[in-house]
Symmetry: C2
Subunit: 436 residues, 2 copies
């Protein structure tokens, strides 16, 4: 009877892809989940890895483990290169996978607005590898400044510039300020980590533009309270090793982090469908691709407007609900019932800023500060994939909340920093001496 069981291939094991797989596991279909990583990454907490609060293993879980025990689901580690829509095949470098239904949930990466040459100097934050690279750079900047100071060199600037004041940029800025002011304060013999400058640059007129204006203002106050310098309408025009330019103004930067633009996966281009400006696939109301009812797009790669004409944001709840709706529509197909249009149910939005600092918005209810942060904590730990990880993350957070410590401050990989000369010239004759 196997020949009659429809095969659903899901590309991408983010929130949308995993949710679809979970729901489809209960139907008489064969499901194949393909991802180029072996793990699902809980992206809302990636900034905690980048800022050394928690370890990668605590916000990432093997896809196989998440989907274990579902007999009709198989998981494949492979890099999808494209699709053969006519012959209904997903194309990987060394194999092709046939489908009856295809769900493309390939997500989005960074957009450097046509300046891809900025990427090595200003890494973004989408994967575990990105987070580890940012962690490495941030921690190294302090180490190199200490080394220069111990060698009697002129003080190196400790400027962290974050480009883009959406949720990720705000989280990074707030958390880095806390690290500089609290965590590292007592650990350096020579430099004073609290002289670190955290500069948050936003090209638009306000931070967290997806939130109501009063919450944007509250977020700025909370950021400034943490010591972050917030600059809006500050459009970055160039990034070079050690500096960011805003028009003719040069801002020295030990580390630059990119949290500005989003570019949908290039797999969208292969779906014979119209794309929006960010490369997202403009899907039908049932999330299928125009002309291909057997192909769906969910999550950050899908471009769909709500009843009020607003584009649905690229956040986890949208992806989850889209994944679920797509599984439901496949079920309706199998039962020969008509499909339903997708409607996003907005449970509200939360953005964290730092220790006990956050904003929350649900309809007309706007909350700031401690209670917003508690809500954020609850929601994020609750949705964290994997029971074990939830406990560990809670303990780690309780611990770092009480002690101001961050336990995962490891520099792994190389110990040089792109664009940093480190020690630049010589002076005095201290015990540590520059030799070249």
């Amino acid at each position: 009877m196997n020949a009659t069981i429809p095969r659903v291939v899901i590309v991408g094991a983010g929130f949308g892809g995993l949710e679809a797989a979970r729901k489809l596991a209960k139907l008489p279909v064969q499901v194949t989940v393909i991802d180029r990583k072996n793990h699902h990454t809980f992206q809302p907490l990636l900034y905690q890895v980048a800022t050394a609060g928690i370890s990668p293993g605590e916000i990432a879980a093997p896809i196989r483990w998440i989907l274990r025990g579902r007999k009709n689901v198989e998981v494949l580690l492979a890099d999808v290169q494209g699709f053969d829509l006519e012959r209904r095949k997903v194309l990987c470098p060394d194999l092709a996978i046939s489908y009856d239904y295809l769900i493309v949930a390939a997500g989005a990466g960074h957009s450097y607005f046509g300046h891809d040459e900025w990427e090595p100097m200003a890494p973004g934050l989408k994967t575990i590898e990105d987070a580890l690279e940012i962690r490495r750079r941030v921690l190294l900047a302090f180490e190199l400044a200490e080394k220069a100071k111990l060698a009697g060199e002129p003080e190196l600037p400790l400027n962290f510039v974050i480009v883009g004041a959406g949720p990720t940029g705000v989280e990074l800025a707030g958390t880095l300020a806390e690290i500089a002011n609290n965590v590292l304060k007592h650990e350096f013999a020579s430099i004073d980590p609290s002289r670190t400058k955290i500069i948050l640059l936003e090209g638009g007129p306000r931070v967290l533009p997806a939130y109501a204006p009063d919450l944007s203002e509250s977020a700025v106050r909370q950021l400034e309270h943490l010591g972050v310098e917030v600059r809006t309408s500050a459009l970055v025009t160039n990034i070079e090793p050690g500096a960011v330019w805003i028009g003719s103004e040069r801002i020295p930067a030990s580390v630059v982090l990119w949290a500005a633009g989003v570019q949908a996966s290039t797999l969208g281009k292969q779906l014979d469908a119209p794309l929006d400006r960010a490369g997202r696939v403009m899907v039908n109301r049932d999330l299928s691709v125009p002309g291909h009812p057997e192909v769906f797009v969910v999550g950050d790669l899908a471009s769909l407007k709500d009843e009020h004409g607003n584009l649905l944001p690229g956040v986890a709840p949208v992806a989850l609900q889209e994944g679920r709706a797509t599984a439901d529509n496949i079920k309706r197909d199998l039962q020969q019932q008509p499909r339903k249009d997708f409607h996003y149910f907005d449970k509200g939005s939360l953005a964290t800023i730092g220790r006990a600092a956050a904003i929350a918005q649900r309809g007309r209810i706007h909350i700031s500060g401690y209670f917003a942060w508690l809500a954020w904590l609850f929601v994020h730990v609750f949705f964290l994939i994997g029971f074990r990880n939830r406990i560990i993350v809670l303990i780690q957070w309780a611990w770092s909340y009480l002690t101001y410590e961050r336990g995962a401050r490891l520099i792994t990989g190389k110990t040089d920093l792109p664009g940093w000369q480190g020690i630049e010239d010589e002076s005095g004759e201290p015990a540590l001496q520059k030799t070249r």
Copy 2:
């Protein structure tokens, strides 16, 4: 008065270097700890990271954090290249550090017995980076086997070959067997992880040669009970992609791990002192270097025999006691008292084999199995650097003991495996199809 305070430079923040720094912090000296990593690695538990049991952050802690609050201790991230013994300087690429006392605790790496070309195919386990590379290869081997099977290809072998049956080799073999038989059993749709073969090769006549013969025999029984194939007097003569050779016998290997030889840090060569065969510095009985009473060597880099003429082993307790003894001798110098010779106090040895499997030896007391494992657990968690990590590690272990789960199974970095072609030829027409 600063000019008269002696400056002690410690190279390496392993067990020996850190212990010396802690003791010296209480004396009227200025201490500089130099390491090329920003973190101390708890090496006895590295195999747990390599086998995905715990995350790197749980067995590594920033050196600055460990030594925080000690006003006369500074920490420097730098790569020591050598020494100017005459001018009493430690030489780094871009700076030189003066010392009155020097403690070299630079440890040891792997020896491939003159076959350094084997290293890319058979990584060893000394650093966090090593552990992550081993984890990546082990997990990838299962993923690639699953992919081949799903594509209808002939089964790929799942042979893990571990070279060297000292404590690290035995730990890796036992833990890998458990993963294959328990952890991964229910997660693959096509392959059967329990058909994995774990082969432990030892060139000498018995495993764990540092232990008594009856304990070696017990270790073999415990390993075989876990499904490990143990082969002694099996000297590896060649390693090539996908295989290990023992004379004319070719053993197919998906992953090869190296736990055989130890080679002391090359910094030993720069100390104008005789070296033993493994490159260790043959120190005086007070751990100083012949002809240089102001220079000490401690830990795996030091070569010293006990009263019975046996070389002290390269284990943490030896390094710790040597670090302490060196700090004490510097104190005696400052108080113009004669130095004391170093005597190692052997509290016994422990080697773990797997879940509730271990051996322990203290003088004539030999223990095997569950109680040895409990002792091992207690000692290792107790000595783990950092209170927070101890709790987290205990919870993780309790969790994985009860559930057979291993939480840190992330493949980060590249998703190819050296020496593995993956899918080699084509057959049938399954849903997954090889395309080239």
